[in-house]
Symmetry: C2
Subunit: 471 residues, 2 copies
Amino acid sequence: MGGLKVANTTAQAYAEKSPVVIISGAPGIGERFKNPLLHHKVKDFDTQYRVFKQLTVASTVLDDPQTAFQEIDRVIATALRYKRPVYIELPRDMVDLPGHLNYQPLLSPENSDANALKEALNEAVTTINAARQPVILAGIEIHRFGLQEELVQLVEKTNIPIAATLLGKSVLSELHPCYIGLYEGAMGREEVRQYVESSDCLILLGAFMSDINLGIFTAQLDQGRSINITSEKASIQFHNYEGIRLQDFVRGLLDANLRPRPLDLPPRGYVPLSDFPASDRKITIARLFARLNSFIDENTIVIADTGDALFASSDLIVRGRTEYIASAYYASLGFAVPASLGAQLANPNRRPLVLVGDGAFQMTGLELSTTARYRLNPIVVVINNQGYGTERPMQDGKFNDLLNWNYSKLPDLLGTGIGFKVTNEVELEEALLASRTNSESFCILDVCIDSWDTSEALKRLTRSLGAKIRG
Amino acid sequence: MGGLKVANTTAQAYAEKSPVVIISGAPGIGERFKNPLLHHKVKDFDTQYRVFKQLTVASTVLDDPQTAFQEIDRVIATALRYKRPVYIELPRDMVDLPGHLNYQPLLSPENSDANALKEALNEAVTTINAARQPVILAGIEIHRFGLQEELVQLVEKTNIPIAATLLGKSVLSELHPCYIGLYEGAMGREEVRQYVESSDCLILLGAFMSDINLGIFTAQLDQGRSINITSEKASIQFHNYEGIRLQDFVRGLLDANLRPRPLDLPPRGYVPLSDFPASDRKITIARLFARLNSFIDENTIVIADTGDALFASSDLIVRGRTEYIASAYYASLGFAVPASLGAQLANPNRRPLVLVGDGAFQMTGLELSTTARYRLNPIVVVINNQGYGTERPMQDGKFNDLLNWNYSKLPDLLGTGIGFKVTNEVELEEALLASRTNSESFCILDVCIDSWDTSEALKRLTRSLGAKIRG
């Protein structure tokens, strides 16, 4: 009990397919008779379990030693199969009880239906080989199911151009010669949109068709010209296949007789600045991200919070694989600083570049306390537009305003870290270079931009969202 | 959607009977066909509704203009009846639709069963009048149902001594001549415990029998000698009455023929210091609270977070009614700073004294940003024992440690407020007096105590809890 504090983050893991295992202690089964009022209890002893049932793909209460091991196996196998969170509740009087003696570990990994897989692959190969301009659109499940290497091989074997969804950004290096950019409907770059939407064979691999991935449903994707495979469904044009696993399909494509073709990419509409002559001009979102695009390198993992941090960062060119992390579907504010903890603990060789608006930072930014405790060293860029800047263009009012913190003073509070206040381009340059040098602790940049300054991507999105709110 | 961030606080409102109305926007009904992936969505469009169904006493989705007004009435009436949270979800395409034209407001306040009430009151009056040593034990529902004035009149009319539960602390002024103190089983003061447990007629009014209220079930209350009335049940000795409302019973007792008796109180085992000679001795929990006991006055509202802030503050003598607020049942860490916002916005004439451990403060203390934005002026005492001090005596390890913030530097981050670092008694004295003088902004005191220094109440509690963990 007491686990409800992670309800929202569990919901996010469900929505975005992260296989999180939540383990919660609970009062002993022997304490539950007569329904006493134990602290942290809400309605009944199973209230928390019932809540997490709604937010996970499998859940269990280990109230029977005879079945406990099987239940743990079942729940974890489901997390691995669907890449969604699961919930295990452990009553405290069950901790020391012996489990079933003749317990057999659950093996049986689920397989694809061999006939369905064969037919679907044949049809896909025929369709792709006959296509004039096939395009792969790669989604986040390529990362979740560990298929990045297979994807690269597939692309390099065939020279089929590849785009990514926003949630799937960086499932392959964005410097790869076959990569054409992010596809996000009207929210994304026009040249990518045109190329993808004019394809006569769109191959969607592990891509969620969510509102933000689709530029708030401004995407124009023709199902009659699509091959669409995720962990949950498989369709070619208007017919569906049952029992096909994403990983079997991707590996099958890689082994199949797909014809290589000459590399024929759309013109790149966007080239990052190699040179950034800093001036004492007030810093803008556009110039900030132009500079960051040359600042990030192969050791950087970019973590973007929701808001313009997400939209503006969609234009960054990420070098490595899965080195761009954002809550691009669930879109819960306050994601980035906590996420940087997990990302750097998982891979201590990367230095996180955290991009976070001031609104989101005020929700969870003090998790930098844990960052400091574990001596991690993210560079945190607070995009300080004095409030909920993403909301202003849609509907503005006092509810969008925030107290303007002195973010660069945060190291004084925590007793470690280095802070920089950045108002113009020269100060940005100095702060970035000093942050690169000072890698012993976190660095935080308070980048003060105008309240109404937004990225091009956000401008496109808010035009679309604003129309929806008014309509 | 996006409302899951308040799941835990809603659960607390349910557990502790706060009538909170949660109103959540949601995607339009017209947008839900074909189940598109809109951001913030978890499993289905009703996932959030299903979660809040578990955490509220009534809930509704306003998806039909014909029934919307009735549904709003039903849900709010239920909140008022049970003093529990309710949930109203408003799809965004329903906002501008006209409701039912011939709508009749719901009136019908529920009444007690007149015969049952009469019989119960008769029996209670006979029992109380025949008793040698009756005692009232008042709980939080006296506040929730607005019965404080009736309670005082009842006590003053009869001279029956009165104790309070921890959650109900300050339902009447703790300076009232008939008040004998908090009853909390083995956790509380011995003289109160003995007096209550030796009563031949215990009158429980609106009291939850929760584990913390009962000193982790160390209380020895004899049902055969009890009259126990709450909003949910009514029993006299071992028989129950149905259909009796708490407010009707309390008002009935007040009007009934209860005999006045001479005031006969147990000796007060505890007298607050009127004088506090400060020295340069390191500050301790005991001396901190001894000093706070003379610092608080009739303008103070004490708000205690969970942990030793709660237990130590149980000994404070609170002057006014409902001027002590704590999460004494649900016990969720991080309650106090956010609660001080609500308390002071509700009553701007009181100055909150916020008592919060460093562990709890690191969870939600930055809500002082909102405090500053609304120019509120709580005095925040961070009881800094460098970690989760309540847990250490039960089971210690690195998981109880925290980064030691420079809490007194927080005003530099927020750009307002006054901070004090307090290590000895002289510094405490100076900081308290300066805080009293500086009422234009919040003040924060970083009171540095030893990691293992705990209050007497917590020592008693952890002995009991520790035994439970080991057993």
